[in-house]
Symmetry: C2
Subunit: 464 residues, 2 copies
């Protein structure tokens, strides 16, 4: 047997095939846009998969985008519209007008339509809804009435439900007769006379059984049923944990009101990860390549300002020890090392804790053990780095006592870093806040203050 | 119409229902384990969904875990085994022995079996394979022969393929006759006589059509076909971009060799996000709640050591200006502010760039525009913070020239931060490295050095 674990999967070469927007395609369409070769632009754009076309529209500069979107007027693809990024979708609506876009939204699945309209401001939402046909409009309004980020916003309203006493043959006949089936579905939901789901039957099981088999004999009955107001993050957790492809959504009375399919959940997972990674990095949710420069500047400013306050507090701590630093300038040289090591260790502990909370691995039942582990890890690393940095400082400034002082400060700061980095997100989570809010600002301000205080304080007592 | 965008989805209350491991359940099973009430332990564990049982085994302390796993001997659930975290799976195999676990792996779908066995060391893999029945073993060995993180490792080997001239009726009869169908499938793959896929037909379309309809009339033909060596990250991108539920995998000759379903992709997406967030946070991939303390300590040590080198370089820069600091100790007080602001701004730019590269939004065609935007954003924020910090420094130390010097240093450091934070990941990506490797260590070392050099250098020229 050969186990080629060392062999790498193809990446560089294959990445060209992954997206339809190959480098060759991009240079072809850019030069066609530059030189206004109309036929070629239309031809190139039409050859793309709708998802690739949406990506192309997002990637273009404002002028080229307006140019291309103008050419799509009268020929918009609903799947392309459904894939557009929020802020780019706003541009397209502004350019083409609500009426034109509403025509396309009217033929989308209800979950996609709710998603797209939900991204607009309240006024534009109204305009949009008024431009829709009566029956679609009612379903979409009901969808929009559910809180943002809830299961109700994600679900497809057209369900494939059958009475729980049906047979395989009846299911096949029923589906052959219906013409309002959703474009994709994977299960038939069995409901009791009160329209409450009692189980789901995967299509693959129906297809591989004979006509006279009862659907109840094929159904999955320990399925998870999703309350319509459940947070989308919890819905995503269930899909991942249980390897679900679709799930039934019920109202407060337990009645079937919709179905959520995994393609929407994949998008939710991306959104939630994006939120986590951006909070940890100190940028806003809507801070991406496509947001306007002034918007980005303003959103970054807030976060930088929080860091500035933290930095000024740390500077204030240093100013207590100005006299000490004047007598021994080596302290000024070495003090950033103590602060940096603490900051890095606290971000490490934070990252693991935030991730574990998001994955529902860290809960009240094991929080104490997890925090205890972080403190021990930072104690061990604290002792090792105390030795390394102590020796470096000793020989650099030819002063063994200085080495001893920085060694003590490192141990103190790393232990505080491990404790704060793991306990703070747990605490925030327990209080109902997003644990990722605990990000670097809080933590590096704590480790800066503790680091400077410990190092300069010990120095003023022990060295002078 | 009511649009309750302000209303929040239920989270706190509902989170109890999401996982079967409610706080009440956890305290019940913990006290049963403490007090060794055997019947109760077995009863509680058996009532759990396999996915919840896997989560429970992961969450328990080592002693309790060994205790519970012992009770499951002879009654292991394959779905539970498939859900176990890598390091916990290793513990379970060590405790129960290869033979016992192999019996369960033999009845898993091939993709799950390959995933589980692929996590073991080479020696244990061999033991495992030898304990499997001949035919399953051959399929799993073939799966393991594909590179780690490639499509070949993710695919289910049992496919549902039919000749491209078949009808709906033939498809239904074919499936009713087969007994080796995978446990879940969503499409029938149509293949030509060379066994190359020509299209896929979703089961929902087959079910809603009459027996005499040709499958080619129902098929999706612009489907993406996945080469068996494609990187799993690219596979995940395709599933997300195209809202796929399953996709055909082909060998170098274009012949159908397997099918990847979305449930495995959801796991890949989680893995890839985990990798990104952990690289950015400076922790190893296998650094989680369940890794041993010494293992975690060692893995964190490496990263802290890289930061130490960076911090020592920054300290070395400061040491050039020791004489300047001795004359004006206010410089030592203020210098961490310059460094902190630069570090924060660079991490902001890095986060957005790494995320955009992972989402394939940032590519050679728009890299220059993206980097230019970051530089402008940091220039604007640089000017604003220069004003704020300049005034603070001026009044704090009653020295307008000191305010001017720190203002200049802030502008310089923020512009460098925006440039380095966005350009470095783009460059790493272009060179074929993971852009998240550019993380904070590199960047804060750049902004520390530039910040200290600009501030102290300008001060030594202009103030003394």
């Amino acid at each position: 047997m050969r186990v080629d674990a060392e062999e790498r999967p193809t990446k560089d070469g294959a990445s060209h095939e992954v997206s339809g927007l190959t480098p060759e395609f991009m240079s072809a369409i850019l030069s066609a846009l530059e030189e206004g070769r109309d036929d070629e632009i239309t031809q190139l754009a039409n050859a793309l998969h709708p998802a690739d076309l949406a990506d192309l529209i997002e990637k273009l500069s404002n002028d080229h985008r307006a140019d291309l979107v103008e050419r799509l007027r009268g020929d918009l693809n609903p799947n392309m519209i459904a894939e557009l990024d929020e802020s780019v979708f706003g541009h397209v609506v502004d350019q083409l007008g609500v009426e034109e876009v509403a025509e396309v939204v009217a033929v989308m699945d209800t979950d996609d339509a709710v998603g797209v309209i939900g991204e607009l401001g309240e006024e534009e939402q109204q305009e949009f809804l008024e431009a829709l046909p009566e029956d679609e409009r009612a379903l979409i309004e009901q969808g929009l009435a559910y809180p943002e980020d809830s299961a109700g916003r994600l679900m497809q309203r057209h369900t494939v439900a059958m009475a729980d006493h049906s047979s395989v043959g009846q299911a096949i006949d029923f589906m052959r007769d219906r013409d309002d089936l959703p474009s994709d579905f994977f299960d038939v939901v069995l409901v009791n006379p009160a329209h409450q789901p009692v189980g789901t039957v995967p299509l693959s099981r129906i297809m591989s059984s004979h006509r006279n088999v009862a659907l109840t004999a094929l159904m999955v009955s320990d399925m998870k049923i999703i309350p319509v107001r459940m947070d989308q993050e919890d819905v995503a957790f269930l899909f991942r944990q249980r390897d679900l492809v679709s799930a039934s959504v019920v109202d407060d009375g337990g009645r079937l009101v919709g179905v959520i399919t995994v393609d929407d959940i994949v998008d939710v997972i991306h959104e939630e990860h994006e939120e986590d990674i951006k909070r940890l990095g100190g940028v806003g949710e809507d801070d991406d390549l496509y947001s306007a420069i002034l918007h980005t500047t303003r959103s970054r400013f807030t976060w930088l300002f929080v860091h500035l306050i933290a930095a000024i507090i740390a500077a204030y701590v240093i100013s207590f020890f100005a006299a000490t630093i004047e007598q021994m300038v080596a302290l000024a040289v070495l003090m950033p090392i103590v602060a940096t090591m603490g900051g890095t260790a606290s971000v490490q502990a934070l990252t693991v804790a935030v991730r574990a909370i998001a994955m529902k691995e860290l809960s009240p039942s094991n929080a104490v053990r997890a925090i205890g582990k972080e403190v021990l890890v930072s104690l061990f690393n604290g002792v090792m780095f105390a030795l390394i940095i102590g020796v470096v400082a000793w020989f650099w400034f030819d002063n063994p006592a200085l080495g001893g002082v920085i060694a003590m400060a490192i141990v103190i700061n790393l232990v505080v870093a491990g404790l704060a980095g793991s306990a703070l997100p747990v605490l925030l989570d327990r209080l109902g806040f997003d644990p990722a809010l605990a990000s670097s600002a809080f933590l590096t301000s704590i480790t800066d203050v503790v680091g400077f205080y410990a190092f300069l304080g010990l120095a003023s007592i022990l060295l002078l």
